[in-house]
């Protein structure tokens, strides 16, 4: 009996110890370096710079908030929330808005960011929703130029080293107004192919690497932690409008069997779309047709023709789609062949850079070198106008996927990410 009791006591102690250990394991811990690899080659995080490389632009917009912050920030529903500005009001005529800024915000050099009179005055007679949306955009981030020419931000990480397009190191901003991040630093390796990233991940050289949407299933089945975003990349055909008439653009768009690509090549990841912006962002993407109509496509092609076709052959997600698009197009009498120089049509990956349609379209407009989007117009009209002016035919929206080592916790909110050293490798 006594022996039984002792056994129960011992078991209870063991369970208690396990519970304590489990509790300790789930409690965020400070320290450690997060090693991240990506395909994008980001030149810098300057919010005012818009990269011409869509992949680099998408990554830059993703990583920029870690260093540079805005007065307001959009929440998951796209609603503006106070960030560096705690409140805002207007003068009587509603032509000047006054934003009260957060106190004790430290710049990365340790100095205090304190606008004169503790507020920022913005003369703007537009509705406050438009103003807030603009202020939430990356281009409105607070950037202070230091005496040495470097750019100082207020974000949870500061740039310790930036080798443009190759690698960078971000270290924790100890005096961050929201509290020091858990990570000591983030090491970023740029310009790495998906295959190299997967290899580095397998041998433990990276904690977080990108993974193509179509490849998500296999690592998941192996038990690897996979993190995905909502569809953040638009796969689209971009035509050289001067060389390819609208009729042929339409024929090519109608020849593409998006459903087969989505089902087989993308493993049903992402969504079929004829719109530039994904459904979760606008809700109206279904208004843009995405069905295949081969008969109509053939009618629009008077005689077999050949177009030069370009795509990023290093992009494992894009390449099979491009090959399938070429096969589909050949059915309509359009031969897509790879050529040198400027292609007649390219399969591109366009990033959704913001949680707000207008902001996202602004970046796309810059990326596609199209006419500026008038903010007053509806997003649908803006998007439609941008598609027509830029000669872009969207095909799919793809999520971004990450393979994470088991020690990475709280991904993808970097200010909250921490590393569990006890996690199994």
């Amino acid at each position: 009996m006594g022996r039984t009791a002792l056994r129960w006591i011992a078991a209870g102690n063991a369970i208690l110890a396990l519970a304590v250990a489990l509790e300790a394991a789930h409690r965020p811990r400070y320290g450690g370096e997060l090693r991240v690899e990506m395909r994008a080659a980001i030149a810098g995080l300057d919010p005012g710079a818009v990269s011409e490389d869509p992949v680099a632009l998408g990554a830059q917009r993703q990583w920029m908030p870690l260093v540079f912050e805005t007065l307001v920030r959009l929440d998951d529903h796209g609603r503006p929330q106070p960030w560096l500005a705690t409140s805002w009001t207007h003068e009587t005529a509603r032509k000047i808005w006054i934003f009260q800024v957060r106190k004790n915000v430290k710049l990365h050099d340790g100095s205090t960011w304190s606008p004169a009179s503790g507020s920022i005055t913005i003369p703007d007679d537009r509705p406050i929703e438009h103003i807030l949306r603009e202020l939430a955009g990356a281009r409105s981030a607070i950037v202070v130029k230091a005496e040495d020419g470097s750019l100082l931000g207020t974000g949870p990480f500061r740039i310790a080293r930036w080798d443009a397009g190759k690698s960078a190191t971000l270290v924790a901003h100890d005096q961050y107004w929201g509290g020091r991040p858990f990570l000591d630093s983030i090491s970023i390796q740029m310009g790495r192919s998906l295959a190299d990233q997967a290899s580095d991940f397998q041998i433990g050289k990276a904690d977080a690497v990108e993974i193509a949407a179509r490849d998500l299933r296999a690592p998941k089945q192996r038990g690897t932690t996979i993190a995905t975003t909502p569809p953040m990349d638009t796969v689209a055909l971009q035509f050289d409008g001067g060389r390819v008439p609208a009729q042929l653009r339409q024929a090519l768009a109608l020849s593409i069997d998006r459903a087969s690509i989505h089902n087989v090549l993308l493993q049903k990841q992402g969504e079929i779309s004829g719109a530039l912006l994904p459904k979760w962002l606008t809700g109206y993407s279904f208004l843009f047709p995405a069905e295949r109509n081969l008969v109509r496509a053939k009618q629009l092609v008077p005689a077999p023709l050949s177009l030069t076709f370009g795509y990023d052959r290093q992009d494992a997600a894009i390449r099979p789609i491009a090959e399938r698009v070429a096969v589909n197009a050949s059915e309509a009498g359009i031969t897509l062949r790879q050529g040198t120089g400027a292609a007649d049509v390219q399969l591109v990956r366009l990033p959704v850079t913001a949680g707000d349609p207008w902001l996202a379209l602004q970046d796309l407009t810059a990326l596609l070198k199209a006419a500026s989007v008038p903010p007053a117009a509806s997003s649908y009209e803006n998007e439609k106008a941008l598609m027509e002016s830029s000669g872009v035919i969207p095909l799919f929206h793809l999520p971004r996927g990450w393979m994470l080592s088991s020690k990475v916790k709280n991904w993808p909110r970097f200010e909250d990410v921490w590393l569990d050293p006890g996690a199994a490798p």
Binding site: D257, V264, A326
Partner: protein
């Protein structure tokens, strides 16, 4: 020594040509014979080599076919292909299976040929297989050639089809008919194997052939029931790019699916032929040069004596019968030289004898003439004197005397005339040249001869207008012309036309005297200028001889042309000037 060979080809030149042509001809014959025999030898060897290569090619193709069949069989049984057939694999998983099976192409298709997964063209999932495989071949265990579309274009492959999972799906796999297959044959230098594939592609060990259409005639030839064909293809404008081929068809169900070609470069053969030809040309040219030199040396040895003989002969022809040829050898040429010398000696002796005989004959002729000429007047003299003697006692003596003396005087006059003529001929003086107008002399002679009325003869003068002044002896010229005019008048007893014509030439003046009489025979023409020859009943035969003598003294020429019934024409060519008598011989004024 003056030689008048003109443009005639010399014996030496002929000998040189003959020896050169013989050398060149011999070299050409040898070169041609060697070239032909070389070509035949090459052809025979090449044919054997090509046939051996084709046999090796066929064996290799058969081995590869067996290998493809085995690999496709293994692929069909693999777990990966089973998963693809069951729809439990990625759309491009066929790539993995093709790689592990060592196949270049692999399509896993549903029974209706819809592609489930394609190794070489993953993007074609959901489409129908279009390898142009015949319906029967989908259920055949054979290995066959199929044209497989790829994103880069269609290629030919050795292909096999096998069922998967009891026929729930089919797997079609193949290996590209690549240059590697042809490389593996290890062909000998100068040879190569080609594989022609319909509709018009040809591959070799180095890759695709640039101009497969040049094989079209060969491909057409192998379509015949005989099957095998040979032929040559010249790939570029350079003949050395020529290649001889032996072609063998690959057929399936009566359809030509490919052609094996074993080729041999003709560059070596052509190079050798060129080398032979070049050598032949060099040898031929050298032979000609050597032949020329040898021929020169030989002909020098042969023709020099011949030339000496020719020079001797020319000297003899020129009247120098004392010419002798040096005898340098004891061969035929030496014998000829000796014979020549004997001949000239004999000729000299004969000439001397002939001169002697001629002199005797001339004296005899002269005697005969003199006798004849003198006998004619002597006979009337004798008769007259006898009459005179008989009539001495008669009453008519005076009258007889008077008539007889008249006759005697007349006959003595005749004798005197005859003797005078002979004397004149014997004493022909040297001409005294002065500038005279030949036309004036012609007019003077005509006037003198036509003082008496000659109603039946019509004189015609066709005289050159100007420049008829020449250097001549006017008396001798007048006498010669007078003789010719008298002859012409004598030739026209029935009357006719006497034409005298003068004409200017570069060398002087031509004088023609023509009558319209009966003409002369050829023999008469030839003997006309012989002294004492005459066609007239009472002629002395000295008139034309005197004419010829005068013309000759004037360094001119006289000729006669005549035709029976059409008269006779005497032509005299006289130089405008006479040679300076003080000038050395051979020079003219």
């Amino acid at each position: 020594m003056a030689r008048s060979r003109g443009s005639a080809v010399t014996f030496r030149t002929k000998l040189l040509f003959i020896s050169s042509f013989m050398v060149a001809g011999a070299v050409a014959l040898v070169t041609g014979a060697v070239s032909i025999s070389t070509r035949r030898a090459f052809d025979a060897i090449d044919r054997e080599r090509r046939q051996a290569l084709l046999a090796q090619f066929r064996d290799e193709l058969a081995a590869r076919s067996t290998e493809v069949a085995r690999r496709v069989e293994l692929a069909a049984l693999s777990r990966g292909v089973q998963q693809i057939a069951a729809g439990a694999a990625e759309y491009d998983h066929a790539q993995t299976e093709a790689a592990s099976a060592g196949l270049d192409f692999l399509d896993v298709v549903e029974p209706d040929l819809t592609i489930i997964s394609s190794a070489h063209w993953p993007a074609r999932f959901g489409y129908k297989n279009d390898w142009q495989i015949a319906p029967d071949d989908w259920h055949s265990s054979d290995v066959f050639l199929a044209r497989i579309p790829t994103p880069e274009g269609s290629v030919m492959a050795l292909t096999a089809v096998r069922p998967v999972a009891g026929g729930k799906a089919l797997v079609a796999g193949g290996r590209r008919l690549s240059p590697e297959l042809l490389k593996s044959l290890g062909v000998a230098p100068g040879m190569r194997a080609l594989l022609w594939l319909p509709p018009g592609e040809a591959i070799g060990a180095e890759g695709s052939i640039a101009d497969p259409q040049k094989l079209a005639s060969l491909i057409q030839a192998v379509r015949t029931p005989n099957g095998e064909a040979t032929g040559a293809v010249q790939w570029t404008s350079d003949r050395s790019s020529s290649e001889a081929f032996l072609a063998l068809p690959i057929t399936r169900a009566g359809t030509l699916t490919g052609v094996l070609l074993a080729g041999t470069s003709l560059s070596t053969q052509l190079g050798l032929e060129r080398s032979i030809l070049r050598t032949g040309l060099v040898v031929g040219a050298s032979g000609i040069v050597i032949g020329v030199l040898l021929g020169w040396w030989t002909t020098e040895r042969i023709t020099r004596p011949v030339e000496r003989l020719a020079a001797g002969a020319r000297a003899v022809a020129g009247g120098d019968l004392s010419a002798r040829v040096e005898v340098l050898s004891r061969d035929e040429i030496g014998e000829l030289a000796r014979a020549f010398n004997v001949m000239t000696e004999q000729l000299l002796e004969q000439r001397d004898r002939a001169i002697q005989a001629e002199r005797v004959a001339a004296w005899r002729e002269l005697a005969r003439r003199l006798a004849h000429e003198l006998k004619n007047p002597l006979f009337p003299l004798q008769i007259t004197i006898e009459n005179l003697q008989r009539s001495r006692e008669s009453a008519e003596f005076d009258e007889v005397f008077r008539e007889s003396t008249t006759t005697l005087l007349a006959e003595l006059g005749n004798l005197k005339t005859i003797i005078g003529r002979f004397s004149d001929f014997a004493k022909m003086p040297a001409p005294q040249f002065e500038t005279v107008d030949i036309n004036e002399i012609v007019r003077g002679v005509m006037k003198l001869n036509f003082q008496l009325e000659r109603p039946n003869v019509k004189p015609v003068l066709e005289l050159a207008s100007d420049g008829t002044r020449i250097q001549a002896d006017p008396d001798q010229l007048r006498r010669a012309l007078g003789n010719l005019v008298l002859n012409a008048l004598d030739a026209m007893p029935e009357g006719g036309t006497l034409l005298v014509r003068t004409a200017l030439h570069d060398w002087g003046v031509r004088l023609e005297i023509s009558d319209s009489g009966q003409g002369l025979t050829e023999e008469e023409c030839q003997r006309l200028f012989t002294p004492y020859y005459t066609t007239k009943q009472h002629g002395t035969g000295l008139g034309l001889a005197i004419v010829q003598s005068v013309v000759s003294d004037h360094h001119g020429k006289i000729s006669v042309s005549s035709a029976s019934g059409r008269g006779t024409t005497f032509t005299i060519d006289l130089p405008a000037s006479q040679p300076d008598p003080l000038a050395p011989p051979g020079e003219t004024a």
